[in-house]
């Protein structure tokens, strides 16, 4: 490895030989300076280093979606993201969805619809749902989007679209029908609040 006078390159060289690095993860709007083992994933950084245990470890291999978080606004499996490679990125976890005491509309909808049972997949389902609403609005197609849909245009979220797009989040309790209903409620802007939620 050739040496370089630039500090940035020097830092890179150090990191290449070291097994730990300094980094800053911006989680739910808060910058967290960390020194972490290169092996540490974003999921383990959140759960074991930042005490943000909302993102769950279900499989640790990107096969269940319980660890889903938003990275720069897009959903991702945090168990497969090395923290060091996410240095400087903005990460949103389930703890960051509500604004103070005001729940995110999807959180309200999940409560309203009883869209969970054991609750372990729920944080991932919620982050995934936030991500899919943005993806559909941004014109991201899915495998069930009709060929006739205009490329680039927002994709209408039918129940089948929601089912397909939520398929990266396993739920063993079988709350899928209600999750689909809950996401549909938010799609429609028909958030039921107040008394409905309390009942």
């Amino acid at each position: 490895m050739e040496s370089s006078p630039q500090p940035a390159a020097a830092a890179r060289t150090t990191a290449a030989t070291a097994e730990r690095s300094d980094m800053v993860l911006h989680v739910n709007g808060v910058p967290y300076p960390l020194t972490l083992d290169h092996r540490t994933t974003v999921l383990d950084a959140l759960r074991e280093h930042l005490d943000l245990t909302g993102a769950k470890k279900g499989c640790d291999h990107g096969q269940c979606g319980a660890c889903t978080v938003l990275v720069d606004g897009r959903r991702a499996n945090s168990c497969l993201l090395l923290a060091v490679a996410q240095n400087g990125r903005r990460i949103t976890t389930v703890e960051g969805l509500a604004e103070g005491d005001r729940l995110h509309p999807l959180q309200e909808a999940f409560l309203d619809r009883d869209a969970f049972q054991c609750g372990y997949c729920t944080p991932g389902q919620l982050c995934s749902a936030v991500g899919l609403l943005a993806e559909a609005a941004d014109g991201f197609p899915s495998s069930v989007t009709p060929d006739t849909a205009a490329p680039g245009a927002p994709v209408p979220l039918t129940a089948d679209e929601i089912r397909e797009r939520m398929s990266g989040n396993l739920c063993r309790c079988g709350a899928y029908p209600r999750i689909v209903d809950a996401v549909g409620d938010v799609r429609d802007g028909g958030i039921r609040t107040g008394q409905d939620v309390a009942s």
Partner: protein, 717 residues
């Protein structure tokens, strides 16, 4: 009968066949819902005491034999390594009730994946690396993991899971079968299945001043506490097990599992708190599985479809560690009025991981076979499958002769048929298409027994008008917190908002596990009893409450020790519509509908979620889930969630669940039968029967994947 086909926050009044047995019955939202949607509900691995070390297990990579030697030098030289526990240095345990918990006590390897060592390190990353660096030398012995119907070592056990006799006979089955005008003789296979709750088994253990505290992912902290106390030679008051939030269980957290024992051992050995979350890929070997079953069903009937002979014979496996026999032939003792019957189980102890409970053990696989066979008979006799079932409805429980405390199977079938639009139905196979796909419908019945266990509970009235109810129930997603509060509120005659409920810790009054669909009935009875007593005390009280309030405790062991003169079972009917792609052999469920008669439903909102959840797991059993044992290596081949196909959202259509609200006075004060398991029971048969209706192809081996179906579809594409 529930009126709202689509779940909503305000389902409206629930019309019932009769007055509810208890005032509880409203759709109350989960009490811990907000914690779960905000990510603040903490599960077992989400407690990190200061100085916490991390553990990672080392599973055996052979199928049978013993450990000759460990080489831990490289492992212990790694940065962050604390120790490697093996049978050579691990704390000695008293002999456990469950031999599967005899961990790190000797050199034996009874099956692939058995834990032979435990790495402990300062960080999670280091623990995994240390575990990977442990070198183990084995002496291997020949092994056998293949269950076959003719396995030479099959034997008849004394009893099967649930305590039922292995064999039950009435009349002369062979003679009646030989004489029957119409007969069916078919063998069905259910592969090994894995529970795979979303939260892997995890425990965080710490010792302080001789007291052991474990946060454990379990379905019953009282039982885990008792086992840990016994293993470590402690008094029950020296152990606290907390299972506050549990990420699903479905049976595999119903008994103490290795994580609690290993974490406690490591914490004792290292003097530090230790956290252990079992890796998903290791679960199948150490947390139980649904044992595979080979099930021969023989039915003899008149041409009118009246059963004269019924035999259900099951071959299954257990491990060499302990005997667990999946009681798949037991539901046939309950279902149909055949005068001549034989039901039996044989089991072979193979070098396989120990099977255990998975949602509706016995009923789920057994009813796949029995209800497929009934459908085959209906096809054979050209009788509508609902009519055939109605014609064989028994007056009393066939094997015991006891009267049913309540039995509304026929009502479930008929109500479901109306809701589903069962009729008119052309029975001919492979004649309906929608969008190029073959369409078929199927029906199956379901049953699940009423289990109840004795429990303690405590109810307390504060001087300021609030109430506190304490019972070591476990909420694994069932809504236990919510429904127990409803029961308490009804018994106390106060709004739920005035009641604090405390569950999920062994420091609370002792309670049985969340299993056997018995939680609400067992815990609820004790809660009801304590609250009723408290309400009586408060009524009789002159003047204000004392400053420290009033407390009543209850114990329902005596009530539960008395055998019921009634046969007590929940029943249900499942309806499925499937679409079969003849190009790919792929089956998709288009509609799934269930109607259940399971006593009084205390909370329609959470109850519907459980029914739908059970049906979803049944859909997986029918179409996507199936494990296999690798003959060469002895482990389960699909060992992760990419290889073992739990249904995803796209597999699951709108599912409808309804119920007949029974008024059954022979159960418990709430009139409940239990709802956690019956949802899975008839689903697989309903779907398989629908596939036969769609295609004309009768598949008897689950799951119904393209590799099995496609070869039969050539003539249809």
């Amino acid at each position: 009968m529930s009126q709202d086909p689509l779940p909503s926050a305000n389902p409206g009044p629930t019309a019932t066949r009769s007055a509810p047995a208890s005032p509880a019955g409203a759709s109350v939202a989960r009490r811990e819902g907000r914690e779960k949607v905000t990510g603040t509900a903490r599960y077992a691995a989400e407690h990190t005491p200061p100085g916490c070390a991390y553990a990672w297990p080392v599973p055996a990579t052979i199928c049978r034999g013993r450990v000759l030697a460990f080489d831990t030098r490289a492992a212990l030289a790694l940065p962050g390594a604390c120790t490697v526990l093996t049978h050579e240095n691990a704390p000695c345990l008293a002999p456990p009730d469950d031999p599967a918990l005899e961990l790190l006590q000797n050199d034996r390897v009874p099956h692939h994946g058995w834990y032979v060592a435990l790495a402990v390190a300062d960080t999670l990353e280091a623990a995994r690396a240390v575990a990977a660096a442990v070198r183990v030398t084995y002496e291997t012995e020949t092994h056998d993991v293949r269950l076959t119907a003719g396995h030479p070592h099959l034997y008849t056990p004394e009893s099967v899971n649930g305590g039922y006799p292995a064999i039950s006979e009435r009349g002369d089955f062979e003679g009646a079968f030989a004489a029957a005008p119409a007969t069916l003789d078919a063998t069905y296979a259910v592969p090994p299945l894995h529970n795979h709750p979303m939260e892997p088994h995890a425990a965080t253990a710490r010792w302080k001043d001789g007291h052991l505290t474990v946060h454990d992912s379990s379905q019953g902290a009282t039982l885990v506490r008792d086992e840990l106390a016994a293993l470590f030679g402690l008094g029950k008051d020296e152990v606290t097990v907390v299972s506050e939030h549990v990420g699903g269980g479905f049976g595999c957290k119903g008994t103490p599992r290795p994580q609690a024992v290993l974490a406690a051992m490591a914490a004792r050995y290292t003097g530090r708190p230790v956290k252990l979350a079992l890796p998903r890929r290791q679960l199948a070997a150490v947390v139980g599985h649904r044992a595979p079953t080979l099930q021969r069903v023989r039915l003899g009937a008149t041409h009118d479809g009246v059963l004269t002979a019924l035999a259900h014979e099951v071959a299954t496996h257990t491990s060499t560690v302990k005997e667990f026999v999946e009681q798949a032939a037991v539901p046939a003792r309950v279902m149909y009025a055949a005068p001549h019957s034989r039901t039996g189980h044989r089991v072979v102890a193979l070098d396989v991981p120990s099977p255990s409970w998975m949602r509706a053990p016995g009923e789920a696989p057994g009813m796949f076979a029995l209800e497929s066979a009934v459908d085959e008979l209906a096809v054979l006799l050209d009788i509508d499958p609902i009519d055939l079932r109605v014609r064989n409805e028994p007056g009393t429980e066939p094997d015991s002769g006891r009267p049913f405390s309540s039995r509304h199977l026929v009502d479930c079938l008929q109500d479901g048929a109306r809701r589903f639009g069962w009729l008119p139905r052309d029975p001919r196979p492979a004649v309906r298409r929608a969008g190029g796909l073959l369409v078929g419908t199927g029906v199956a019945a379901a049953t699940y027994p009423v289990y109840l266990g004795g429990s303690d509970a405590e109810a307390h009235a504060d001087a300021d008008g609030g109430y506190r109810v304490r019972v070591n129930a476990t909420d694994i997603g069932t809504g236990a917190r919510t429904v127990l509060t409803q029961i308490a509120a009804a018994a106390l005659g106060v709004p739920e908002s005035r009641i604090r409920i405390e569950i999920g810790s062994s420091d609370l009054p002792d309670a049985p596990v969340a299993g056997g669909s018995a939680g609400t009935g067992s815990w609820g009875w004790a809660v009801h009893k304590a609250c009723t007593a408290l309400a009586g005390r408060l009524r009789d009280l002159d003047g204000p409450l004392p400053a420290d309030g009033v407390t009543e405790t209850a114990d329902t062991r005596q009530e539960n020790a008395e055998p019921s003169p009634y046969a007590r079972h929940a029943f249900g009917a499942h309806f499925a519509e499937v679409r079969v792609d003849t190009v790919t052999g792929t089956v998709r469920v288009h509609r799934l509908l269930g109607v259940f008669a399971a006593g009084h439903i205390l909370n329609p909102r959470t109850a519907r979620s459980q029914f739908i959840g059970g049906m979803t797991m049944g859909l997986g059993m029918a179409l996507t889930e199936g494990s296999t044992l690798d003959p060469a290596f002895g482990d389960f081949t699909p060992n992760d969630l990419a290889g073992y196909h739990v249904p995803v959202c796209a597999d699951v259509p709108a599912i409808e669940a309804y119920w007949i609200d029974e008024d059954d006075p022979h159960l418990n004060p709430m009139g409940t039968k239990g709802i956690g398991e019956i949802g899975i029971v008839g689903t697989a048969a309903a779907i398989a029967n629908a596939v036969r209706h769609a295609t004309g192809v009768r598949l008897r081996d689950l799951p119904l994947t393209p590799d099995k179906l496609l070869p039969h579809l050539a003539r249809l594409s």
